[in-house]
């Protein structure tokens, strides 16, 4: 078998595995050249952007850097990872812009715990607002050093020099100096200049343009190796024994027959039982031949989920009297519960892990949004110091918040340790459905009242699904919101935009209903009750593009809208639906989404993120739901868990609102939040039926009111 793991730039020397890269040792690892770096601890002193990061940062350990070698190769190191959000492209653009080089001149080394700085993880739409400005300043600082070196070389004073395609140009004699020759035999390492002049967004030539996906050709030719594709010499395939249902305990297991299969090795460590074989089919066969006995524990019946979430929440804080009084005294009011199902991320590449032990050193390749988190999980699993564990994260087959953990990598490492050979564990689709984690289910209880055209009381409780997006953006007196932690019958975790998908559905449904009670146009009602100008701007932009005031072509058509401010992004989605008068079948005809996230780094990729968010949100809005009962997930297959397909796509339109005067924020999450309430409100507009549950219409048929 071939060793297909060659993702290191050839200029790299192997760093000392015992330590991170310090200023002192830098060039020993990097080779000669010029570099700029920043250190979290330095950076933290100057900016309070990273709450909680302090504890993780090691003093004097470089946290990210850009290096120019004497061949002119430019390498950027960051702990962020690429899971399809195309951040590799937009970060490369940022660096290319400041260094006056084509994007092809730059290599980003990402998510390798030995080579790249500690990073909490790639989630929460944080890469663009946090990492892009740092890399921009680091690249600009590097540019200034290169200019200074050129002045020295030519014995020039503080004259203006121009840069082009990786060269500095002499102002008089037309001579050029390449970055490589400027870096030759140098050992110049300087901290990023916090006050360095960066290129104004109005003058961007690379950032702000639709640069194509970096290494795009590797992905459409099948050359890119995802973790599940990787192979090591002498590698075997591993499988792990799973409980039949959640919460079952292994009583005993007979592995005799499994072990008799040719080439099969059985690994038993307490409750962990796994097998390895020369191919995945034999491993699966061996697994199936294990005769295991399980003791089930009482689990929540699926039809009692929402009662359970409320009952297990425990005591709740008292709601302020001003809020309840205002509600009691109001004449126009609404109160309703919303029920939100568990849904699955369904990354098309299920979890995969590949592990190799060399003595007491462990290497793990796994598709995760948190390579450093997985390194910590491995540290605990094997009680070995972090320095002996290297986690690699090759560009991965998506995550959507669903790959914060490292299960497959840990399983592969356990099997590799026991068998003494490299092991790859690729989860099946069923395993990914059953043993990863879900977007939480939730019960949301809202009470709201109007005085005139204004919201005079707002009480909002979220049981279990989470606090993200729980704060209403609407002005008004007497607000109260609380997130109640509950016991979740299924394993749950992060998701694209987290609980915003649930909370904004409830907020935007109730606000729409209030507008109806006030006999005010829902768009005008929102504009009247919102203060944030950025949010109002996307509503107006989407409304205009949608043609909010146009006449409906038929009485069974409905228009609906929703808006949200999530993680620095501002989004409004307008939807048009039709409900068949006879069959009551719903058709989503069109969706217009306007989005603003500051200065746009890559319009094409931004549009793709918005479209992807809206369509993924369409699944959760209409039909995605994890079906379960007493610990058993019963639709753990793509034939039974429905995700959006080509035929589900309505006419899509995206309106990009570019604010070059504002810092860029992330875009991978916010645009998912508004499609569900927009459709819900459009259905109400069409046929006067108000829906309160997600998914709204698993059968595709709108009930009669």
């Amino acid at each position: 078998m071939k060793d297909t793991l060659n993702n290191q730039p050839d200029t790299m020397k192997k760093p000392d595995p015992e330590k991170g890269i310090s200023r002192r040792k830098f060039f020993k690892y990097m080779g000669t050249g010029i570099a700029t770096y920043f250190v979290w601890t330095d950076y933290l002193a100057s900016e309070a952007l990273f709450p909680g990061e302090n504890a993780q940062a090691v003093p004097d350990q470089l946290s990210s850097w850009i290096h120019v070698s004497e061949t002119g190769a430019i390498t950027v190191y960051t702990g962020k990872v690429e899971v399809g959000q195309n951040i590799r492209t937009s970060l490369t653009q940022v660096v290319a812009e400041e260094l006056f080089v084509p994007v092809s001149a730059i290599t980003l080394v990402m998510g390798d715990t030995q080579l790249t700085p500690y990073d909490r993880g790639t989630y929460g739409s944080l890469t663009t607002p946090q990492m892009a400005p740092i890399l921009r300043k680091a690249a600009a600082s590097l540019r200034e050093i290169l200019l200074q070196e050129a002045r020295k070389e030519w014995n020039l004073g503080e004259v203006e020099l121009t840069l082009e395609k990786g060269t500095v140009q002499h102002p008089g004699n037309g001579k050029k100096l390449g970055y490589g020759s400027l870096a030759k035999a140098k050992h110049l390492l300087q901290p990023m200049d916090e006050n360095v002049k960066t290129i104004h967004p109005d003058k961007w030539k690379v950032s702000g343009t639709s640069v194509g996906k970096i290494n795009g050709e590797d992905f459409i030719t099948g050359k890119h190796r995802y973790v599940s594709d990787r192979v090591l010499p002498d590698m075997v395939y591993g499988k792990v024994l799973r409980a039949p249902v959640y919460g079952a305990k292994l009583l005993r297991a007979d592995t005799t027959r499994a072990a008799e299969l040719p080439g099969v090795q059985v690994v038993k460590e307490g409750d962990f039982i796994g097998v390895t074989a020369a191919n995945s089919r034999t491993a699966a066969m061996a697994l199936a031949m294990i005769e295991a006995e399980w003791e089930k524990s009482p689990q929540v019946p699926g039809n009692q989920l929402f009662e359970h979430l409320e009952e297990s929440a425990g005591n709740t804080d008292p709601v302020p009297a001003a809020v309840t009084d205002a509600f009691s005294n109001a004449t126009t009011k609404v109160a309703h519960d919303f029920k939100v199902s568990y849904i699955a991320h369904v990354p098309l590449e299920p979890r995969a892990g590949l592990a190799r032990w060399t003595g007491d050193q462990l290497e793990v390749w796994t598709g995760t949004q948190r390579p450093f988190g997985v390194q910590e999980e491995l540290e605990h699993a094997f009680s070995i110091p972090k320095e002996k564990i290297r986690v690699y994260m090759p560009d991965t087959g998506s995550g959507y918040g669903g790959k914060h953990t490292g299960e497959a990598g840990i399983e592969a490492a356990k099997l590799a340790k026991a068998t003494g050979r490299p092991v790859k564990v690729n989860w099946t689709r069923e395993e990914e459905f059953k043993w990863a984690y879900f977007r939480p289910a939730g019960l949301i209880r809202v009470k709201a009242a109007l005085t005139g055209n204004r919201i005079s009381s707002w009480e909002f409780h979220n049981f279990n699904s989470g606090g993200a997006g729980i704060s209403s953006p609407y002005s008004g007196q007497n607000n109260y919101q609380e997130y109640h932690r509950s016991d979740s019958p299924l394993r749950q975790g992060s998701y694209r935009a987290l609980a915003s998908t649930a909370n904004i559905f409830a907020i935007e449904s109730i606000v729409n209903d209030l507008a109806g009670m006030a006999r005010t146009d829902p768009m005008q009602f929102r504009l009247d009750n919102l203060e944030d100008e950025r949010l109002k701007a996307v509503i107006k932009a989407a409304g205009k593009s949608f043609g909010w005031n146009r006449k409906k072509v038929s009485a069974n058509h409905g228009f609906g809208m929703a808006c949200a401010a999530v993680k620095g992004g501002f989004v409004a989605t307008f939807a048009e639906v039709a409900v068949d008068p006879d069959s009551r079948e719903l058709k989503v005809l069109g969706a217009v989404t306007a989005f603003e996230c500051g200065a746009i780094l890559n319009p094409r990729h931004l549009e793709s993120q918005i479209t992807g968010c809206v369509l993924q949100g369409l699944g959760g809005a209409l039909f995605e739901a994890v079906e379960f009962n007493e610990g058993n997930v019963s639709n753990a297959f793509l034939s039974s868990y429905r995700v959006p397909r080509f035929k589900d796509v309505p006419e899509m339109k995206v309106v990009l609102v570019n604010r070059k005067d504002l810092p860029s924020s992330g875009a991978g999450e916010a645009p998912i939040t508004c499609i569900a309430p927009a459709i819900r409100n459009a259905i109400d507009d069409a046929v006067g039926v108000k829906l309160y549950d997600l998914p709204m219409l698993p059968s595709g048929v709108v009930p009669r009111s």
Binding site: G84, N86, G212, R281, P347, L348, E349
Partner: protein
Amino acid sequence: MKISVNNKEYTVEVDGNPSLLEVLREQLDLTGTKYGCGEAACGACKVLVNGTPTPACITPVTSVQGKQVLTIEGLETEGKLHPVQQVFLEEDVFQCSYCAPGMIMTAVALVENQKAMGEQEIIDGMNGNICRCCTYPAIVKALHKLTQTETKG
């Protein structure tokens, strides 16, 4: 047993009746063809068998004996991308791209069988393939552009 993949003859192990997907990925190291669901519901593993898009995950390798298997790795001719690959690259359609090989193989058969397709025909032809990043509109737009161009030419 011998099978023909990308115009090359390979001798493969068929003990235990492996799927075509397993043989491609684990015996021939042709990992461009992906596993997505194991039940022909997502299209990630589609390859062409005598020109027909076929889910490799549920296809026993023995059933392709004497047939021509084409995978994503065999699509380029003389170092040139297939027009479907080319248009997907130009239009920059994908995000994580894990679905890309299956999408491309399905689309190759679709455009070769039918020129000048309308968007609805493309949607109908591609509906068996899932892109969980939901880049569907970009895929349709790219294929539509390709088929219109091909007709003109």
